[in-house]
């Protein structure tokens, strides 16, 4: 029996090391995880979490959550999440020592091509959770990284210290300061392009940012990758519920966010 795929995704009950608010909107969940699982993790991949019963609610389907950090040395797996509904409310109820059943690592990670020396990461809100581990990888590979972090208010900016500690240039834009509008974002990015600091873009989530980056990318021939979200049932490619349309040549194709993604070619992605 050759040619049979090897086992890559694992269903594991992991125990909670901590689960604390990061600011008003986000929480950081730290799980104790086996080293060999952590070594398989890559930036951009996700886990599919089986949220517990809590407060009379019983979330049924698993919830996909990007790997925010994976630390084989410490044996830790980190998730940064925003409480939005029954599943994330249940996650927020987890206490030290509780078990959380996770499935992963899943999906295709970000890639950094050999000739991408200067990376630009553009993120807003919880998108930071997805992009943060990319900074670690860029650092490991000795690439330069500019992290453009956008938020409603300076208080809600997260991970900027983290990016800075990994040697990234951090640019913060906030609604409160009036610096996060698209026009300003375009000026900032064009500035990076002009100074040769943009070989590739990495982004996720926001429709408007995607459109802007696609325009700039096309203008200057700069490639990029985007991490996308879609509702998921199985998380491993079986059910086809998580598809999104993409442009491939002159055809539109449907690809599974859990399987061909969640990281896709930025130019092929279709704004929604």
């Amino acid at each position: 029996m050759d040619d049979v795929p090897s086992i890559k995704a694992f269903e594991l009950p992991l125990s909670v090391k901590s689960n604390e608010p990061v600011n008003g909107e986000y929480r950081l969940l730290v799980l104790a995880a086996p080293r060999d699982i952590l070594k398989r993790c890559r930036a951009g991949q996700f886990f599919h979490l089986l949220c517990p019963q809590a407060g009379g609610e019983t979330p049924y389907l698993r919830r996909p959550m990007s790997i925010y950090g994976f630390y084989p040395e410490k044996g830790e797996l980190h998730f940064l999440y925003k409480v939005t509904g029954a599943g994330t409310r249940a996650l927020a109820s987890l206490a030290l020592g509780d078990r959380l059943n996770v499935l992963g690592p899943l999906g295709e990670p970000f890639t950094i091509a050999d000739d991408w020396q200067d990376l630009v990461l553009v993120a807003r809100g919880v998108g930071l959770a997805t992009l943060a581990p990319l900074a670690l990888e860029a650092n490991r590979l000795g690439r330069r990284l500019t992290a453009i972090c956008s938020a409603r208010h300076p208080d809600y900016l997260m991970s900027t210290d983290y990016f800075a500690s990994l040697g990234a240039d951090v640019i913060t834009l906030t609604d409160a300061e009036g610096t996060s509008d698209l026009d300003n974002l375009e000026r900032v990015i064009e500035g990076l392009v002009a100074t040769g600091r943009a070989d590739a873009f990495y982004t996720c989530g926001s429709n408007r940012m995607l459109r802007l980056l696609q325009t700039i990318g096309e203008r200057h021939g700069i490639p990029g990758q985007i991490a996308l979200e879609q509702q998921m049932a199985c998380g491993i490619g079986m059910c086809h519920c998580c598809v999104r349309p993409f442009n491939r040549g002159d055809r539109q194709v449907h690809l599974r966010v859990c399987r061909e993604g969640p990281v896709f070619d930025m130019m092929e992605a279709i704004a929604w």
Binding site: K8, L61, I236, H240, C242
Partner: protein, 314 residues
């Protein structure tokens, strides 16, 4: 040693646990060794390319789910070229699920997929079709009979007919499928349902409505499996809401010779392995040496036909 093997009209399965169509694919091989399963059942394919339904395609309802995936399909060519060879690496028999918009197209596909490497064909006669004003073939005994006759003529492989709960004539449909040559019945597919987001006032599914699967479906599908086992003499494969070994046992007692596990795999990807192990343990604790000794052992007394085959709640 408990004997878990079952015989589905001549096709021997090493155990009675297999996946339900649309909730399984090659991808699961990255989670566990697929050779442990009783059978492999593919997602339904159609002859030509199909895109499937608009998103969102799934939503949660009270500990169960709705889906309106539709049948995205790469067509029969791609299937025979890529999918069938994949499963050739396994000993577990491959069951191919197919569907068609018209009975003739359906039958053509049926003969096209009758290729080496395919052990049986599951015919999904439970999705809406155009010849019958949007009704599934399996809603009525007559349309069931018509399509099954054509399918029967199209292949020598074992034919499993997958029934729908969206009918008031379960026993009649089951008998029609048997008469027209079905070798087994898969009971059942999802039941048409709906959910609305009260904040946006939009249906939670892009396609307006979709099929209910998971634990909420179990009592309905179990009832149908029981009725079909009583109404016909071909094997019944139970399907609907199975998520514990007790559920498997309940279906077998009701008369199912094997079961399919769908939605539960989304919640626990390795659940089919636990069910196989759990079934073996349970049988052995009960002192039963073969799973066959459990099948159809429901004590239903001297119920008359009118009760067994009734179709509305009393």
């Amino acid at each position: 040693m408990v004997d878990l093997s079952v015989d589905i009209s001549g096709l021997k399965l090493k155990n009675p646990i297999m996946p339900a169509s649309g909730t399984f694919s090659e991808d699961l091989a990255e989670v566990f060794d697929l050779d442990r399963l009783g059978a492999h059942v593919t997602k339904t394919i159609t002859r030509g390319w199909r895109d499937g339904n608009p998103t969102p395609r799934v939503c949660e309802v009270n500990g169960s789910m709705l889906n309106s995936i539709g049948i995205p399909s790469k067509g029969v060519g791609a299937f025979i070229e890529k999918v069938v060879p994949f499963y050739a690496h396994y000993e577990t028999p491959l069951v191919v699920s197919i569907s068609g918009n018209t009975a003739d197209e359906f039958a053509t596909l049926c003969s096209e997929v009758s290729v080496p490497g395919v052990a049986a064909i599951e015919v999904n006669i439970s999705c809406p079709n155009i010849e019958e004003d949007g009704k599934a073939f399996a809603i009525r005994p007559s349309s069931t009979h018509d399509v099954m006759r054509k399918l029967r003529a199209a292949t020598d492989l074992p034919l499993w007919a997958k029934l729908t709960p969206n009918t008031g004539e379960t026993s009649e449909v089951a008998r029609a499928a048997e008469e027209a040559g079905a070798d087994a019945l898969v009971v059942a597919n999802t039941i048409l349902s709906m959910a609305i987001d009260i904040n946006t006032r939009r249906p939670k599914l892009g396609n307006l409505m979709g099929g209910l699967s998971g634990p909420s479906l179990k009592p309905i599908a179990l009832r149908m499996a029981y009725q079909c086992a009583r109404a016909t003499s071909i094997p019944v494969i139970g399907c609907g809401g199975i998520s514990t070994v007790e559920d498997v046992i309940e279906y077998l007692i009701a008369g199912a010779s094997a079961v399919q596990v769908g939605t539960a795999t989304f919640i626990h990807p390795t659940i089919m392995l636990s069910l196989i192990d759990g079934l073996e343990d349970w049988l052995s604790n009960q002192g039963l040496s073969s799973v066959k000794d459990l099948i159809g052992t429901v004590i239903d007394g001297e119920q008359d036909e009118a009760v067994v085959f009734m179709e509305a709640a009393p």
